[in-house]
């Protein structure tokens, strides 16, 4: 096999894996959401189909597929069909540019190839992710306009106004972390968070409790908080789910949708949540690294303690260990998404806009100035 065909094949396999990973995680997330809400509200939740109700979503998907095709009579058919398809796009594209683990190497007689666990490694990863995730507003607007229904239209308008308002706070809260690490590249940013935490006092550098890593959360607590609140608004989750306020807007922008088309909106929403959790882990919680877990250490554990001799297997297992670390962090944040949804009540729309423009944006500016002044005084 020549070199070009090999690279193309590897990339296609990566794309398939990343896409399937996202689509497969959605049923599990919906299950976690339903069981979690049942757990919080002290009831059972889905428990009939399969063990613990795990197959419920499989049954749902089959049922969705056998639903009748329906388009509203006065709607714009092209917009109506485009919206759910576009809703799939932002999550997958953004997830493809986030490194999921360390690269691994396969070698044998005469060949050796290192595979990055990332579909595309962009120098400007962060800007790309921000740009792609704002495409989600198009799906909502097309859905609202295409349905020709006032509930859908108002849901879509509210959703897009809310998304663009919180995008300001989201973008500005990241400036602080960019100032600290000085890079747009995810891998470099994660590498910068591996070292022990240091802090400066009166011109002297101290290493603080050497087991603590230099995670972004320790440098940017306010930025992390602003970022996390903004992504709740970006993904239209409670307490910011005004677009779907069922008491006044039926179901918001997907009032007229049913069957597989509604499922696609769900895949988009959960994909967006997964991207937000992955970004949270990458920016503020060290990505796939964990204090005390080094590449050499894990490799020695596999070769020494477990007596695995093949270098390829050791490389793959090491990659998987770091992947599990990142996935654990992502799942913790996804659980927080569910937890918050069933804990906090919904805002009113003017409160939501006030919070975005008059509270979060000024605090994000303050965070940026504070970080810049601190770096200046410290003299890097």
């Amino acid at each position: 096999m020549n070199q070009d065909a090999f690279v193309v094949t590897v990339n296609l396999i990566k794309m398939a894996v990343i896409f399937l990973l996202m689509v497969q995680l959605v049923p599990i997330l919906v299950w976690v959401e339903r069981r979690g809400s049942a757990f919080i509200q002290n009831r059972f939740g889905p428990n009939r189909v399969g063990p613990l109700g795990l197959l419920q979503l499989l049954a749902d998907a089959v049922k969705f597929a056998f639903k009748e095709e329906f388009t509203p009579g006065k709607g714009h058919k092209a917009f109506f069909y485009m919206a759910p398809i576009i809703a799939l796009l932002p999550g997958v594209l953004a997830f493809g540019s986030i490194p999921l683990s360390i690269p691994f190497t396969l070698s044998g007689d005469g060949y050796s190839h290192t595979f990055a666990t990332q579909v595309f490694d962009l120098g400007i990863g962060i800007v790309f992710v921000l740009g792609v995730s704002s495409l989600a507003a198009y799906a909502l607007l097309l859905a609202g306009w295409g349905s020709a229904n006032k509930f859908s239209l108002f849901g879509a308008l509210r959703a897009s106004a809310q998304m663009i308002s919180y995008e300001l706070a989201l973008g500005l809260s990241l400036v602080g972390i960019l100032l600290c690490f000085g890079t747009f590249n995810f891998s470099e940013m994660i590498a910068a968070q591996e070292v022990p935490l240091t802090f400066f006092l009166f011109g002297k550098e101290y290493t603080f409790l050497s087991f603590l890593p230099a995670w972004g959360i320790f440098y940017q607590p306010l930025g992390a908080l602003l970022f996390f609140v903004s992504v709740f608004a970006e993904t239209n989750r409670l307490p910011f789910d005004l677009p779907e306020a069922e008491a006044e807007l039926v179901a918001g922008y997907h009032t007229e949708y049913g069957g597989l088309k509604m499922l696609m909106f769900y895949i988009g929403e959960y994909g967006h949540m997964m991207v937000a959790s992955a970004l949270m882990a990458t920016f503020y919680f060290g990505g796939y690294t964990f204090p005390g877990l080094t590449v050499v250490g894990v490799q020695e554990f596999f070769s020494g303690t477990l007596q695995i001799e093949s270098a390829n297997l050791i490389s793959i297992f090491t990659m998987l260990v770091f992947h599990v670390v990142l996935m654990t962090k992502i799942l913790i944040f996804l659980w927080i998404f569910v937890w918050v949804r069933w804990t906090l009540p919904r805002f009113r729309y003017d409160q939501l806009m006030d919070l975005g423009w008059k509270t979060m944006l000024p605090w994000a500016i303050f965070n940026t100035v504070l970080t810049a002044v601190f770096l200046l005084l410290r003299g890097v």
Binding site: F66, E68, P72, L89, G96, L153, L172, V175, L375, L376
Partner: protein, 123 residues
């Protein structure tokens, strides 16, 4: 392979998958008669006047315009944040700090003006 090719190919894969899912419903779903009442927009049993749907409160346009202004200003801060540490190492820290400070003052002034002129008031 350039990452741009990967992005395009991945987008095509995702969009094709989505289009297939949408097409699947019309292929295997049940087909019943489409009546006029069934195709009406969702409403609680009332007839929906056509003109109702095309009215959009002007407030949303204002928010979108303000967003574009502020978002472009925020994007200007990204390259600044990227080179900030390099300038400090070279000893030009104050220069790079105050060049952005001027910009930030204008930014904050714009935000205050917006709040003062009630552009952000939602009833």
């Amino acid at each position: 392979m350039s990452p741009l090719v990967s992005i395009v190919v991945l987008s095509v894969i995702v969009l094709t998958f989505g289009a297939l899912l949408v097409a699947l419903t019309s292929l295997i779903g049940p087909k019943t008669e489409q009546s006029k009442a069934k195709q009406m927009a969702y409403e609680c049993g009332l007839n929906v006047p056509e003109s109702e749907v095309s009215k959009v409160p002007v407030k949303f346009y204002l928010t979108a315009i303000l967003f574009i202004l502020f978002d472009i200003e925020i994007i200007f801060m990204y390259p600044w944040a990227l080179v900030y540490k390099d300038f400090i190492t070279e000893g030009k820290g104050l220069y790079i700090f105050f060049s952005m400070a001027v910009f930030l003052v204008i930014f904050v002034f714009g935000l205050l003006w917006e709040i003062k002129s009630n552009a952000l008031e939602w009833e």
